[in-house]
Symmetry: C2
Subunit: 464 residues, 2 copies
């Protein structure tokens, strides 16, 4: 049995129990059964998970930990892949799982107020009951929480239309490391009454405070959906096609797959091969709107124009929800990549769209020079600058992970790219952050963190 | 002649001249000829304006002032109406007017990098040369600068589609009070590499640092434009109409005019009276897109549906750019309001859309109770929660400004509204901020400001 042996914890537990009650604590095996990593079992080093049931309890727990110098790692849905939920041997875990209510929904102002522990999917479902829509959509939406997506500024497939999580949060309530509650549950689309404090917490990966509640912006639920998978003769066509797609106000996704990705996925079976492999680029375009006739006209004209100007070689367009889902299975085929490429090191970077092709080629060349059997898969949200890259160099891939990272990030730095587009820095990319932001920016980040959490009690090993 | 008599300034001027040269200084009458207020001549108290020509010069000037404890007020286009550009007798002015270049424009990634002193209109023009579009549009765009609109998170008429300035800034470079340069000229739509520092500066009204350069997001330039002016029988219809309008992906404005506004403007002449006065609400709806046929179909169906369901009493729709401009002259008639209502106290607030009518009625009732001859004009961006309200109580309006403010803000606080939607707090609304944000939020704002500008050298009298 996982035991609480560290000195000081024996005294901490009763004090915590006083604040959050029996239901608010998971100790020993119950805590050790939890994982901090979505792909493999990585329990928290100390088997102690505090689960406050209210903002007041979060505040009391943080104030207690602050007095004792006790470090804390915050848990949302633990679906992040940058190690942000890992808890080391000086850290206890605070989970928002008991604060998961839909508190209020306003169909006129189009917002919903929720507890931070609610899942993205539960928010989507609550919105749908009012014919509304929360546009942040992730593969992990059944587990990922609103608090976690706020802390990491999660993206996903619809960013090109509706932005990242940051663009979809109206207000938050957060608790600082010393227990101070910061209520900023704004519900207005426009509010310039002082600093927009929520912006500090969004994307700060839990290092500046713990988000306890949030107000999310909603949209009218789309009634139409169109999608097509296209094969392209070259990268210049992908850029030209993106320019045309951006002139559809109802464009909702523009996903590019490099040949290394499409070939791998297409080989897995005919249902993942709606178009013949062999072209250098494949693009999944999606549009969502509210008027069947106008929307289909726009989408059809986009496809016809792309054919006429030679931007696409071949196309398959979907005529039903089932067919659209099938096209998305080509783009969201992580289980095939895991099966065919493992072990692999994954990258989530942003680059100048104009040089995305050159960046990928330079990266492959650099990998080939350093590793005898390097293989890549490359895909991403090109319109958002965001590429995902998987690298496998053989059975020793994970043993040489750091070498692979150095190799890719060195090319990335040459291209002025961003270390992480949507997955965050977490623990895993922390060592590389200083190369990818300027010293002045890093200095300012340090000042802000020191101002709000001078003892670095919150997510200490994360970011920098 | 305006003279530099304050002790210490005689020594400061040569030190500044050393840093920025003769061109970089305006002294005496040249400085006193400047106004800090867009409506009347309010010169800076000290006739000294520093105009650095580069980020390095801004940094050097701030470092010098920091060593000497010299306070600074930053000037952009000085079009703000909250007193943010007022400079008192312990403050010198730093103007970004010489840093106004278009540095780079990327038609593929759709962004432009500029100096902070460039005007909004110059950015719009530079974008148009590449068939691109910068959606922040203000009456003062010929004078308002990008730096100023970033510092105040400016809004305008297109927020319902494209958001506030915050949503249209990708990166910034700023200089802190001690001269530290923070380069964060991000050009990526997705970048989660550490804290998103630009968010701190946007909307902070120059209190956390001076924005010197920025990267702005651009869009494909719209090719179609539709507008209609509608009269409505009641407020419930305005809400229902807004719900329908939001289902047009190309909706670009939804402006509501209360009867007190429309009656006043309509009385000024037939060209400002496209619809008969007498209805309680008037709405200007606008849509912009890229496909004439699809876009006009959507807009026509929206109008037809509104008629059929009885949401609108009458409508006039515009068929050309000239006609659209004429409809906008009904909504943008500030010269008529100034002529017919002056003197008046103006408010820029946000309220829950559902209770906007009740708020306006409660405000009128409270004003009528306190003042014998209160008159109001009411209009705004209802879809963004944002109402503008002008109040006139007679010749003594300005003498009793504070009383009027207390009266309106007391009602606003009861309705949970926001003190300022888009104009900012500046100096003029500073006294009211503590009533409209929570103590915890205000405490966090103080901590952040103290962390970045502990001596409060930047825009000291602004915000809080």
């Amino acid at each position: 049995m996982a035991a609480l042996t560290r000195t000081g914890l024996e005294a901490l537990v009763p004090a915590l129990r006083e604040l959050v009650g029996d239901r608010g604590l998971l100790i020993g095996d119950d805590a050790a059964a939890r994982t901090c990593d979505p792909f493999r079992h990585v329990p928290p080093a100390i088997p102690l998970i505090v689960r406050p049931g209210s903002t007041q309890e979060v505040s009391a727990v943080l104030a207690l930990c602050h007095r004792r110098g006790q470090r804390i790692v915050t848990h949302g849905g633990r679906t992040g892949i940058a190690g942000g939920a890992y808890a080391g041997d000086e850290e206890i875990v605070l989970s928002l799982e008991r604060m998961a209510a839909v508190e209020e929904i306003d169909p006129v102002g189009q917002w919903v107020a929720v507890g931070a522990g609610i899942t993205v999917e539960a928010v989507q479902n609550a919105a749908a009951e009012h014919d509304l829509f929360y546009p942040i959509d992730l593969g992990s939406k059944g587990s990922a929480t609103i608090g976690g997506t706020i802390a990491t500024n999660a993206g996903g497939n619809h960013v090109i239309r509706w932005g990242m999580t940051r663009q979809n949060v109206l207000g938050i309530e957060a608790v600082l490391a010393d227990g101070t509650v910061v209520p900023a549950m704004n519900r207005m689309l426009k509010n310039n009454s002082g600093y927009d404090l929520k912006q500090l917490f969004i994307g700060s990966e839990g290092t500046l405070g713990i988000v306890t509640r949030a107000v999310l912006k909603l949209l009218p639920r789309p009634r139409t959906q169109f999608a097509a998978l296209l094969s392209l003769p070259d990268f210049a066509s992908a850029i030209a096609l993106l320019g045309r797609a951006r002139r559809m106000p109802h464009l909702s996704a523009f996903e590019v797959m490099w040949n290394d990705y499409y070939r791998l996925v297409a080989a897995s079976g005919p249902e993942r091969r709606p178009l013949a492999p062999g072209q250098p680029y494949y693009v999944l375009v999606e549009a969502m709107g509210y008027d069947e006739e106008a929307d289909s006209r726009l989408f059809d004209r986009f496809l016809a124009g792309a054919f006429e100007t030679g931007l696409i070689v071949d196309a398959v367009s979907a005529a039903s929800g089932k067919q659209i889902a099938d096209l998305w299975r080509v783009r969201e085929a992580s289980e095939i990549i895991v099966r065919e490429m493992s072990p692999f090191v994954s990258f989530d970077i942003s680059v100048d769209i104009r040089s995305a092709e050159a960046f990928v080629e330079a990266t492959r060349a650099a990998l080939a020079k350093s590793f005898a059997h390097a293989r890549t898969v490359t895909f991403g949200h090109l319109g958002d600058n965001n590429l995902h890259l998987g690298v496998h160099i053989g059975p020793d891939t994970m043993a040489r992970e750091t070498e692979i990272e150095h190799c890719v990030y060195a090319v990335l730095a040459r291209f002025g790219g961003a270390l992480t587009a949507e997955h965050g820095v977490g623990r895993f990319k922390r060592a590389f952050l200083p190369q990818h932001v300027s010293p002045g920016a890093l200095e300012m980040m340090r000042r802000v963190r020191a101002c709000l959490d001078p003892e670095r009690l919150l997510n200490r090993e994360v970011l920098f």
